[in-house]
Structures are given as structure tokens and as C-alpha cells.
Symmetry: C2
Subunit: 483 residues, 2 copies
């Protein structure tokens, strides 16, 4: 492990983070809000630490050839460092009483979770609200590179390997080709964000609100500058626009790229995309029927609130237009299950990912098939590509770890005096990078009342989910640190 | 598939069931209770159907050589038939208003689940209460053969294969050796039941109550002839006696056999047994500290109620001495997780089984280890025996199916208008063969108020859990029925 090399990379990340903080500074100057001093302090601390880390550490000649162990350490520590320093603008503002709260909000932002500890969002300065949205957008950018290039390169996750026609084939090293494909995908990402801003503006949403919502829809983040989230506007048009962009954000970004290249059937030809859209529609239909009559008197309303909540949860965005804790049991159980499923691999969404769920179904079916035909040899295929055995093992291990860590984290959270439903709901929400949970952290509430230790635990869960579990948990395996 | 052959076996099973019904008949004659007519009717119907099935179907010469497909069909249909006909004594008694309720109680009995729809247990006739306990005891006997011989022979479950020193090696066919080892294990089972009766009598429990409780402790069943379950006696002595026998029932029966053969360290040398006992102690300790002060003022009481509830849930017995829904969140989450873990493989307990959980942990660790040392070859061992790859796959498939079916069944139950917590709790309890759940089916309540369709669903969940999932679910795979 070349620590100076790692600290150098983290230093570079912090310098970029410091540069990113100039955006809320500009916002602050424009709105003449009192947050300027805090932001300038944050920039100073972040840039200074970043430069120190860069200057003090050696530049290796073969620095492009980062190895797997270093890669994992960089990913986990880098994301943590960004969470810590990204918390500074929150910490320096009067809305945040403790660094715990600031760190929670920051990690929730960068991991695109969207759980909040802010009790009165609308009282905050515009620059703080902008920063809150902007970090989700930056987090989403990070995830695109992470899930399409870094994690497959590190051998983690094992989903991307079978994806046909990713813009760049899985690189052996972090080669320039990666940055080419990242650029293309970022342009798709930025383009869709811009498109959403225009759509929202066209419907009459103020510019600031449009920007904030678009910045948090595309990364499936879910922070809103309004206390009531999207419900504030109570607009059919805004609801459907946001549903559309949430669903687009939940689709593998390489499919968007294929669409732009003129392959108009790309969505339809992809197994995972069909599953994701199909599942969203089925859940929407069932919940519509469940809440029609019992919660909403008109079928249109039932459909509108149903598709919004389903899209918001399954893409792991977390916007709210209704309090699903007031829905009947069926709708609640479906949304709870959706929290685990999550969006597509290669999208900005979280959760277990549809691709892994499909593989898990096929794995189970293969076991049943083997009982019927013990000597048969069956390969599991997705999109007509055979999934190699080691990838299968990696996926099943991922799912098992996900469930294990969900239960362990829920027990730890409950040990801090949190009730059962809230513990299970909060952990499911944070590990899946969703936002709202169940119990006292439902869509109508926030995470402010949880104990401080619970917030650190949940922030850890967010990182766990965001970095596909293996990358974080491996740092806690003693074997990793042996020479 | 030789249907006449299968119907013959089921016929034999029903004749034996009819013979077993003479036990409550004797009980009824002794107590001179009004249930006689109903029991005689039940015997007549069951025996008649059994004989018809036997007589009408052909006796094959090579009947000993049952094949795998037929074996699975026999197991699933046989258990269902026994549930249906075992329900007759309930159906003919005034306590049961519908066949649905009678079937639910019967399947809950034979699968040793212990969930009840009886709202006033103490008003029932002694012979009915005895039948209720007796079917659990018979179910427990069935499970011993099932888990030690039939399922491994069918290639299902895949746990037993690595167990060192099972009394009989896994037979290729159902050979006479199986009945030898089954006899030994049944003697252990019957001996321990007798011992428990004596222990309970020594503490002053009436003979009838002692017999009923012992008959439902050893199969980890949990039916009690009292409305308040074991809490009725409010006796420290009874609590600890029952805890002892619940834990014994949760240990692999082949280890008991080894102990009897003089291998005094058998429990200690077995990885799964250490895990099971260790986990029980850790959970007990944590819950003791959690409820001490908050629910109970004395540490002794806290420990006593904690170890009882933990043993009852983790062994999947389901007796109650306290309403754990009034415990703090931590205790509830721990008990909820214990519902999934369950007892040891080869015991009469249900759930996922400790052995599979251990394998799952090792599987996850191996994936992490592989990330650190990509070229390493690691075998997963338990008790110094390597688990073959196909067994590993079978175990991971089992765990995935367990979770998938848990979620799917919860959604279906919720679609019948049941609230979320009750849906999740009832399904977890029934698929794990435990008894009480959460929400409105907690240890202080019963299952009577659930919709009729919900009871059929839960009875199906009980069979699913009891027959190790594969055996039941495979009948729903179209491929199984192809020639």
C-alpha cells in the first residue's frame, strides 16, 4: 500500500471539492445571503488540506497503475473524506447544531441518499440549499464513473462484466479510454439535468427550485428545497415530469448512450431495463388499486400518487408527494420491498440493483432445475451473455452481505433506543440510498431526532450501499492489511 | 411418475394417521368428554380413505426403489394429506367454525409451528387438546427422518451431507439402515420427552399438562393447553425446565446420539452446536440488559424472561412467558432476526438453520478474501469437512428462496388487508415454523382474526418452511411435470 500515493489522490479530490464550493459562493453573492463567510472558510480549509496532502506526498512515476488494494482504499477513504469536508458549509451555518448533523447531511448528499436532519429547510439560506442539491449532483457524477469503470476494474460488484456494449470495454488499467467514456456519460447526465430544468421552468417552477430539483433528480438523490418535498407544488405537471426523469435516472446510463447513437430499441432489448420498467408499472398498478377508494377518491389521483411514490422509492430518489405510511398495508409492504430492489446497475440509483435480483431469480431457478435434472449443466445468461461462475458467486455474496449488514445495522440502531420499525426502515433506506424510511423517519418526518451515534451508523450504511458494500467492508477484514 | 405407487404410500400414511387418532379417542374415553363421536368419525374417514388408496393402487415389485421425483411428490403431498385429514378431529369439534381454521391448526401442528386460531383454548375438550399436542409430537418424529434421511437422499437442502458421523451415512436408496438409525433417534426423542414429563411432574404440574407440554417441547412445536401458554404457571422452575428441553430439541439429534455413545465432547466439537448455543447466550444477555429496568425491576426476572423468549424463538418452539411486543426495540429486532436464523440442522427446529447461516458467513468472507487474493483457492469447511460446490450452491439458493418467498408471501398476505408489521411477522413466523409473530399475531394474540385466504397462505408457508422449501416449490415448476 503506497500511502503517500493514496494521500495524493485524496488531496486532489479535496482540491476539486474546494473548487466545487465556489458554486454556492457565487450563489451566496448573488442572493446576498449571510452564508458567505462560512463558505469561504470551508473552501479555505478544504483547499488547504488538499494542497497539504498533495504537496507532502510523492508523485510516483507509475502512478497510473494503481493496484486493486490501493484502488479500494482510495474509493472508501476518498468518499469518506469528501463527506467530511463537504460537511463544512453545513457546519458553519446556523441551521446545523453539531458536526454530526452536518456530516450526516453531507454523506446523505454525496451518496445521493437524500435523508435529511434539517427540520426547517425553507429557512435555510439559498446558497446552503444549492450546496445541498449540488453535492447530490456531484455524487451522481462520481457514481457513474464508479459503477461503470472503477468498481469493475477493482473486481467488485461483478455486475458490469456481462453488460453488452458498455461504451468502453472493462479496462485492465485506468486508461485514457475510461475518461473518454466517462465524458460521454457525463454529457448525457448533464444534458438530461438541463432538460429537466427546462421542463420544470416551462411549468412555471421558479428558476432556483427548478435547478435544485433537477440537480437532485438525475443522481436519484431526493433533497428538495421545500419542507414538503415535491408535494409543496401540488402540481400534476411537475409530478409527471419528475417521475419521467427519476425513471430515466434509474436506467443504465450506457443504454441512454446507445439510444443517442440511434439504437432506438436499446431499452427494450436490455433484460434489466425491461425488468425495471415492468416492475415499476406492476407496483404502480397494484398500489393504485390499493389506495383508490381507501386514500384517494379519484382514480387519476390514485395513479398519480402511486406512480410518483413507486418511482421515487424504486429508483431510490426519495422525493415525496404523499405520506406512504398512511397507505394500506399492501402498498407499504410493496414499497418496503422496492427499497431493497433498487434501480438498474450502471444508473445513479442505489439498492441491490435489478440486475442482481434477476441473477438471483435465475440462480434459484437453476437450483430447482438441477434437482429435476441433476446432470444438466446450466449457464445463467443475461442479454444472451453467460455470467461466469466467479461473477455469480460475487453477486450472491453481495446479496447475502446486503441482508446480513441490514440486520446487523438494524440491531445496532435499535440498541440506541430506536423502535423496531424505525430501525428497520431507517437502515433499509440508508443502505439503499433512498431517503425516507418507515416509522418515525417516514416521508412526513426527518432523521433529526435520532441519536448522534445512530446518525454516524446510518452515514456508514449510506457509504456501504453506495460503494457496493465490498469496497467498504473489506477495509474491516484484517487480511486486507497484511503484507 | 408412478401415481398408483405414490397413492399407495399416501394411503399407508393415512392408515397410520387413523391409528394415531385412537390416542385422543382413549383420552376422550378416559375424560368422558363429548369429543368421542367426532374422533370416531375422523378415524373412519381417514382409515377408509387410506385403505381405498392402498387397495386401488398397484403394489410395485421394486417399490423400495423410489426415485427422486416420486420422493419429492410423496413428501409434499403426504404432508399435505396428513394436514388435511389430521384436521378432521378439529373440524368435528364445536371450537372450530370452519374447515379453514381446522386445517390451519392441523398444519400448524404437524409442521410443529404452533400458531393457533383457537381463541379460548382452555374451553376445549381434553381429547382435542391432547390431539393438538400429539400431532406436534408426530410431526417432530416425521421431521427427524425427513431431515436426516429423506431430504439428503432427495438431494434437497444439502446441509446433512457434510455432517461428520451421522449415525448412518447418507443412503443411496432408502435402505433398511435408514430405519435402524431412525429407530435410535426416535428413542432419543421419546426418551427426552419422557424425561421432560417427569421433570414437569416433579415440579407439580398436573399430569395432563405435563404430557401436553412435553409433547410440544421436543418437536419445538409450542402448542400449550393454556391460553396464556407457559406464562399460566408463572413458575421459575417450569420456565427453566422448558428452556432446557427447548434448547436440547434445537440441537442436532445425531449429537445427542453421540453423547449417548459416550462422546461427551460431541456438543462442543460441533461448529453448528457451538454457534447455536453461543448465539442463544449472546442474545439472552443483550435482551436481559435491554429489559432489565425498562420492563423488569429485578435482574433475575429479566434473565428468566429473556432466556425463555430467546430459546423459544430461536429453537422455533413458540411458547410464551412474556409479550415481547412490549419489550424495547432492540429486543424486538433481535427476536425478529432470530426468527430467520432458527435452530440446528438435524434438530426438530425450523428457520433457516444455524448451519446454513454459518455457511453463508463463510461464503461472504470467502468473497472478500478473493478480492484480496484473487488467485487463492478457498474451500469452505465445517467441522473440518470441505463443503462441495454443489452443496454450497444449494445452500445459497435455499437462503435466497427463503428471503424471496418471505417477501412474496408478505405481499400476498398484505393484499388481503393485513397491516405491514403483521404481514411480515406472521409470514416470518409461519415460514420459520415458530408460532407467534409480530403486530396483531404477537405472543399475546392468535391467528383467528386473519382472513380465511390468509390462513391458507400461512399454512402453505408452514409446509414450505418445514419441507425445506425446495420440496414444495419444485411442484410449481412446470419442468418438474415434463416427461
Amino acid at each position: 500500500m503506497r500511502w503517500p500515493f493514496i494521500s495524493r489522490i485524496i488531496g486532489i479530490l479535496l482540491v476539486f471539492l474546494g473548487l466545487a464550493m465556489t458554486a454556492p459562493l457565487v450563489c451566496s453573492l448573488h442572493y446576498k445571503d449571510p452564508a458567505q463567510t462560512g463558505i469561504i472558510q470551508s473552501i479555505a480549509i478544504t483547499m488547504f488540506t488538499g494542497l497539504i496532502l498533495m504537496v507532502l506526498s510523492i508523485k510516483y512515476e507509475d502512478e497510473a497503475y494503481i493496484n486493486q488494494k490501493e484502488g479500494m482504499t482510495v474509493v472508501a477513504l476518498g468518499w469518506t473524506a469528501i463527506g467530511l469536508f463537504g460537511a463544512l458549509p453545513f457546519y458553519f451555518s446556523p441551521e446545523f447544531s453539531s458536526f454530526t448533523n452536518a456530516f450526516f447531511e453531507s454523506v446523505s448528499g454525496f451518496t445521493t441518499t437524500g435523508s435529511s436532519v434539517m427540520t426547517n429547510i425553507e429557512d435555510a439560506t439559498p446558497s446552503l440549499l444549492f450546496w445541498r442539491s449540488f453535492i447530490q449532483w456531484l455524487g451522481g457524477m462520481g457514481i457513474i464513473v464508479l459503477s461503470l469503470a472503477i468498481l469493475p476494474f477493482l473486481g467488485v460488484g461483478g455486475i458490469q462484466l456481462y453488460k453488452a456494449e458498455v461504451p468502453s470495454p472493462v479496462p485492465d488499467k485506468l486508461t485514457p479510454r475510461l475518461s473518454d467514456s466517462a465524458k460521454i456519460l457525463w454529457m448525457v447526465y448533464a444534458g438530461m439535468t438541463l432538460l429537466e430544468i427546462l421542463f420544470l421552468l416551462a411549468g412555471g417552477m421558479p428558476l432556483f427550485d427548478s435547478v435544485c430539483h433537477a440537480l437532485t433528480t438525475m443522481p436519484t438523490g431526493g433533497f428538495s428545497p421545500k419542507n414538503a418535498s415535491v408535494a409543496y407544488y401540488n402540481s400534476v405537471y411537475f409530478d409527471y415530469v419528475i417521475v419521467l426523469f427519476m425513471l430515466l435516472a434509474g436506467i443504465n446510463f450506457s443504454l441512454h448512450y446507445q439510444m443517442l447513437r440511434g439504437k432506438s430499441l436499446a431499452f427494450w432489448k436490455d433484460t434489466e431495463c425491461r425488468f425495471f420498467i415492468g416492475l415499476t408499472l406492476v407496483c404502480t398498478l397494484v398500489i393504485t388499486l390499493d389506495i383508490y377508494g381507501s386514500v384517494y377518491d379519484s382514480l387519476q389521483d390514485a395513479f398519480r400518487y402511486s406512480i410518483f411514490q413507486v418511482s421515487s422509492i424504486i429508483t431510490t430518489t426519495g422525493f415525496a408527494t404523499a405520506d406512504y405510511e398512511r397507505f394500506p398495508g399492501l402498498s407499504q409492504v410493496i414499497l418496503f420491498v422496492c427499497m431493497f430492489i433498487g434501480a438498474s446497475a450502471g444508473s445513479t440509483g442505489g439498492g441491490m440493483k435489478c440486475a442482481r435480483i434477476i441473477v438471483c431469480f435465475k440462480y434459484c431457478y437453476r437450483e430447482l432445475f438441477k434437482l429435476i435434472h441433476p446432470r444438466s449443466i446450466n449457464h445463467i445468461k443475461i442479454n444472451n451473455t453467460v455470467i461466469p461462475d466467479h461473477v455469480l458467486r460475487s453477486i450472491m455474496g453481495f446479496l447475502a452481505l446486503y441482508i446480513l449488514l441490514f440486520f446487523v445495522s438494524s440491531i445496532i440502531l435499535a440498541s440506541m433506543g430506536v423502535d423496531m420499525l424505525t430501525s428497520l426502515g431507517a437502515v433499509a433506506s440508508c443502505i439503499g440510498n433512498i431517503g425516507p424510511g418507515f416509522g418515525t423517519v417516514g416521508p412526513g418526518e426527518n432523521f433529526a431526532h435520532l441519536p448522534a451515534m445512530g446518525k454516524w451508523l446510518l452515514a456508514w450504511c449510506m457509504l456501504l450501499g453506495r460503494l457496493e458494500i465490498y469496497t467498504v467492508i473489506i477495509l474491516f477484514v484484517p487480511e486486507f492489511w497484511k503484507k
